[in-house]
Symmetry: C2
Subunit: 169 residues, 2 copies
């Protein structure tokens, strides 16, 4: 995957995540509870809830686009409390990712990526994608899915994967 293909995959998966949220909303309605209860659900008391899992997946996509595209990341404060607000967060994120054109990603693999949490050390763009952005993005997206699934939302693998660009034999 090129950096541009990686960003498109993140956007596709965030769009899929909105479909999981559709199913969570339908399930909450059917079972007569407020869907925003699920925003606070988690699998362990010392783990992120759905809210933070979605915020974190968005941030992985946002920072990958910013670091690799060589532009500042917009600030998206973690203030969301509801599914409706999480949807806005996802759309702000994918709108920002879409502002990074393929041409700005030329040379991205050789870029020096020095996020604050590396405390002065750095990774090549190539290593940042493979060792940080890709595994972390799918970690948080899958964890959001896992928490919804654990709470009885009827999700299956094709909800996770979304559409496939298959071709005729």
């Amino acid at each position: 995957m090129t950096p541009h293909e990686t960003l498109r995959l993140f956007t596709k998966t965030l769009d899929n995540l909105e479909r999981w949220m559709d199913k969570a909303e339908a399930s909450a309605k059917e079972r007569s509870f407020d869907v925003d209860v699920l925003a606070g659900a988690r699998l362990a008391p010392d783990q992120f809830a759905v809210l933070q899992q979605v915020q974190s997946a968005c941030d992985q996509a946002k920072y990958a686009a910013a670091y690799l595209g060589g532009k500042p990341a917009p600030s998206h404060p973690d203030t969301e409390k509801t599914f409706a607000e999480l949807r806005e967060r996802i759309r702000k994120c994918t709108a920002f990712v879409a502002t990074v054109p393929e041409k700005d990603l030329a040379g991205a693999l050789e870029r020096k990526v020095a996020p604050p949490w590396l405390q002065g050390r750095w990774l090549t763009g190539r290593d940042y994608l493979a060792h940080v952005a890709v595994p972390n993005f799918f970690f948080h997206a899958t964890m959001a899915y896992a928490i919804l699934r654990h709470n009885g939302v009827s999700l299956g693998k094709m909800d996770y994967i979304g559409s496939l660009p298959t071709r005729e034999a």
Copy 2:
């Protein structure tokens, strides 16, 4: 990520998964239960247990190596029942992946990948990696992690990510 880098990332993550299993074993010992109870744990009654999550993560890596490297995938029947057997499965998988050298992956992105479940349709190697292998591999690895975490195994994000090839400023 090139196809070769993607396969290396899968192998790194499967090695990390063995470290999560180390922690699960330590936790089981400390809490006086048989660790193989965790092999059957799941987050929902109609979801794969840890056993199948690990088998599936291995299969995503194995098939990606086989399809993209243009060699047949070895048969690894899903007969495991214990953590010890899952460790053997992981090692058989990573040993196979290691038999695919970088030179065999030249042209992999343009290869025609037609797994049986596509029922005659096919994906380019490029699309197979981005839309199937990468998201599915991390889905199953993260789900194994999530189930262990839900069952009180003390895992954190750095256990998931493993080592980072950071460089000095």
